[in-house]
Amino acid sequence: MDIAGQNLAIKSARDLGVVACTRCTKVWPAGTATCGRCGKALVARDEKSLQRVWALWLVGLMCYVPANMYPMLQTRTLLSVQEDTIVGGAVELMHHGAVGVAVIILIASVVIPLAKFMAIAFLAISVTRPSSVSNHHRQLLYEVVEYIGRWSMIDIFVVAIMSSLVQLNTLAAVNPGRASLFFALSVIFTMLSAQAFDSRMIWDVQAKQKGAPEE
């Protein structure tokens, strides 16, 4: 799919000698230290952005491991205590014939978080070295990741609601497993990681790519 203007030389703000405030979007002449409107420090490019992305991404990934190893939900009935991990629960549901629910769970809790990790990693890498993916596609990917990230918390919401509703003393009780905390942390850190990414860098790479042959 071609995006209109893909082949056009895109001029960045820096090329034009201005800098935009990332908070209130007001454009200032390059070299302005702080935004005169909202007081935010102005930088043309956040040089430490990638470091933050990677650091938070790493934490998110670290949290994702126990989130899948530990049980997400502890279901205690009169006779038994059942603890299910995310994948284990989904597999069990599939065995019971609830394939649809299992697929939803797998997509929401496994596919999307993993895709997010990969997407962020891809974006972070792609701004430092040449990439075959066009800037427009990468921008789109970034926006999707940002948007979809919050929805990963749906798992945590389900666990929270179940835990608060099903508390019938000894008869039956649902308690959040240890994985829920790690899963929440994982989601939070990936969201932070995605936010820390300075999407303007996508365009610098294009500039470099384009500039290199020129020089």
């Binding site: 470091q51 933050r52 650091a55 938070l56 790493l58 949290c63 009169l78 006779l79 820390a196």
Partner: protein, 694 residues
């Protein structure tokens, strides 16, 4: 002059690593440190893995089944797999670090499952929670061991239960119920563990535990016996069912008692025998413990109906064994023909033979062999007249033909037999029954029927029916007699006679005969120290009086009355008696006769006779009265005589001889006087006695 410095390549100063690094890296480093820390702690807290080999893994689940010690979870099963040669199930248990050092070579493990037995329910909690592995180990740290053999059943002693561990062994032929309680006075004080059969197969053996503090009840003289089941006995007190408790009734149980006080405490592992009942247990104190029984055979040519398995084998009346089995045997080679003989295998208890020294079946066999050469023979004898049961007796036969105990390798020794002594109670009873059977019951019944027929005919006889009419006629006659004037006069006349007698008696009283007699006797007493010769008249007088009385007695008044009464009662009897019915015709005739007699009586003036008699009685009474009137005069005369005698006695007061005679005479007089006194008193009390003579 100096060289120009070499050109220096100027590079832009790189920012230091720290300067370039973002603070945000602290977060992943922190997270990593925490993760590593948690991982290390988890690893560090992890206890060792022990492997327990069970026969099967029923109910054991990975990461669920717990290892418990004193009912607290101290570990969890991590893995369940087969042993290398599939000979069992290896359960890998991660033991908590705190207790891991105690899990040493002394540890035992078993699986607790819900169990429903006759004595109760155990492990009920495992129904819901699933089975768990119970571990038991002591509180001392011993040499480490990582592989254990799991027990099939919970051990008797677990988790610090104190108790005395003993071994129970059955007597030969006895049985033992495992997993049963040991009770003492109805309280469970111990348990029997799993029983097993001894290597020779001749007794069962089981470990048992007596819990503290009851182990002090056990001494070397303690005897155990079986209380399972129930006993039923019929005795003079009636039928009795006896069992100790429902639990032991169903599941069996043992109890014990120490019959001989004293005795030291026993050590763990002491072997005790279990007897069938209390009596056997008690007796065991006095007889040698039973050993393996000696088996011998007896082959009988004769009918052995009545001989049953367990029938006693007696030697001189002492039970030394029992019949173990009975079978038929055909052996033409051995006995010379192919008749069916009966072969009884006896089990003889060597201990009962009272052998000295070592009590073994071999010794008993040698003993029997010797005795058989001397003439010991086996025979059948009646054990019970009632049931016709038989027993086997070993008796000494003096003139027995030579025989030996047939022994040999691999065969059961055969004891020779002699003629049986069987009192055939059955035959006798049969004879009695036959005689009863032969009784002419039918003839008897026929006679009875005939008799009843006759009786019926008799009762329905016309004559008999007429009898009441005759009786009525007779009664009418009797009524006539009673209503006749003469009869009516009898009471009046009797009354008159009695009035006369009364008057006579009153007259007697008036004359105060008694008082005078007393006075006379007083006088006689006053003259007691005198003598007289003229008192002979007094007895004569008395005799006369007696004669008079006798005459009065002879008067036929009473007789007549008696006769009349007899006649009346005879008539009554005739009327009343059942026998009258027997001869209806005769009765009619007899009644007619009686009627005739009575008519005659009425016509013949019998009443007149009675009146005449009464009249003469009256005369006689008058005569008595007259003679009684003479009595005072007589008494006066007696007094005169006594006075005279008194004077005479005064004259001869001093004579000894005379005195002696006088005393004799006085005694006579005294007696006479006594007689007079009693006569007088009698007369006073009962004047009519003079008339009736008594």
């Amino acid at each position: 002059m100096s060289d120009a410095p070499p050109p220096v390549t100027i590079e832009p100063a790189r920012k230091s690593f720290l300067g370039r690094a973002s603070v945000v890296w602290i977060i992943p480093i922190l997270a990593l440190a925490m993760a590593l820390g948690v991982a290390w702690q988890t690893y560090n807290d992890r206890g060792p893995l022990v492997e327990i080999v069970f026969e099967n893994g029923a109910g054991i689940a990975k990461r669920e089944t717990e290892l418990r010690y004193r009912d607290i979870a101290v570990g969890v099963v991590e893995d369940v797999r087969f042993a290398e040669d599939l000979s069992g199930v290896v359960v890998a248990v991660r033991v908590d670090k705190e207790v891991a050092p105690y899990v040493d070579a002394s540890s035992t493990f078993w699986v607790v499952r819900p169990e429903l037995t006759t004595t109760g329910v155990s492990g009920l909690d495992t129904v819901l929670s699933g089975v768990y592995i119970e571990g038991s180990w002591d509180s001392e740290i011993g040499p480490k061991q990582n592989r254990f053999k799991g027990l099939v059943e919970a051990p008797l002693r677990s988790n610090g239960e104190e108790g005395l561990e003993i071994v129970l062994r059955t007597t030969p032929g006895g049985n033992l119920t495992d997993d049963s309680p040991i009770t003492f006075r109805g309280i469970e004080v111990g348990r029997v563990g799993k029983a097993r059969i001894s290597q020779q197969g001749d007794f069962a053996i089981a470990e048992a535990i007596i819990f503290e503090p009851h182990s002090r009840l056990i001494s070397p003289t303690t005897r155990f016996w079986d209380t399972s089941g129930f006993t039923f006995s019929v005795g003079p007190q009636g039928a009795e069912i006896d069992f100790s408790s429902v639990a032991t009734l169903v599941a069996g149980g043992l109890t014990f008692d120490t019959f001989v006080s004293g005795g030291a405490r026993v050590a763990d592992g002491t072997v005790f025998e279990v007897f069938a009942d209390e009596v056997a247990a008690r007796n065991s104190l006095f007889i040698a413990s039973e050993v393996e029984a000696l088996e011998v055979r007896v082959v009988f040519d004769e009918n052995i109906s009545g001989l049953a398995v367990d029938a006693p084998v007696e030697l001189s009346g002492l039970k030394i064994g029992k019949v173990q089995s009975i079978s038929g045997v055909v052996d033409a080679d051995e006995f010379g023909d192919s008749r069916v003989r009966l072969n009884a295998v006896l089990s003889i208890q060597p201990a009962r033979l009272g052998l000295q020294g070592e009590v073994t079946p071999e010794a008993a066999l040698a003993f029997l062999s010797t005795r058989i050469e001397e003439g010991l023979r086996a025979r059948l004898a009646s054990a019970s007249l009632l049931t016709g049961g038989l027993k086997i007796e070993l008796i000494q036969v003096d003139d027995a033909p030579d025989a030996v105990l047939l022994t040999g390798e691999g065969i059961i020794p055969i004891i020779p037999t002699t003629e049986s002594v069987i009192s055939d109670a059955t035959a006798t009873v049969e004879g009695v029954v036959t005689r009863i059977n032969n009784l002419p019951v039918e003839e008897l019944l026929n006679s009875a029927i005939r008799f009843l027929d006759s009786a019926e005919a008799f009762v329905s006889d016309e004559d008999l029916r007429e009898t009441p009419q005759d009786v009525r006629a007779l009664l009418g006659d009797v009524r006539d007699i009673v209503a006749s004037d003469d009869v009516r006069d009898i009471p009046a006349k009797l009354n008159a006679a009695l009035t006369r007698i009364e008057g006579l008696v009153a007259e007697l009283e008036e004359q105060k005969v008694a008082a005078r007699l007393v006075a006379a006797l007083d006088a006689a007493e006053a003259a007691a120290n005198g003598v007289t010769t003229s008192v002979e008249g007094v007895p004569a007088l008395v005799d006369q009086i007696r004669a008079v009385a006798a005459k009065a007695e002879e008067l036929p008044l009473e007789e007549l009355a008696t006769r009349l009464a007899a006649l009346t009662s005879s008539a009554e009897k005739v009327l009343d008696t059942d026998a009258a019915r027997r001869l209806p015709a005769d009765l009619g005739a007899a009644l007619k006769e009686i009627e005739a007699t009575l008519s005659e009586l009425r016509e013949g003036g019998a009443i007149g006779n009675i009146n005449a008699t009464l009249d003469s009685t009256r005369k006689a009474a008058d005569a008595v009265a007259t003679s009684t009137q003479d009595l005072p005069a007589l008494v006066d005369r007696v007094r005169a005589v006594l006075d005279q005698a008194s004077a005479t006695i005064t004259g001869y007061n001093k004579g000894d001889v005379l005195s002696r005679d006088a005393r004799a005479a006085l005694r006579d007089i005294s007696k006479a006087a006594d007689a007079m006194t009693s006569l007088a008193r009698m007369l006073e009390r009962n004047p009519s006695a003079l008339i009736r003579g008594r």
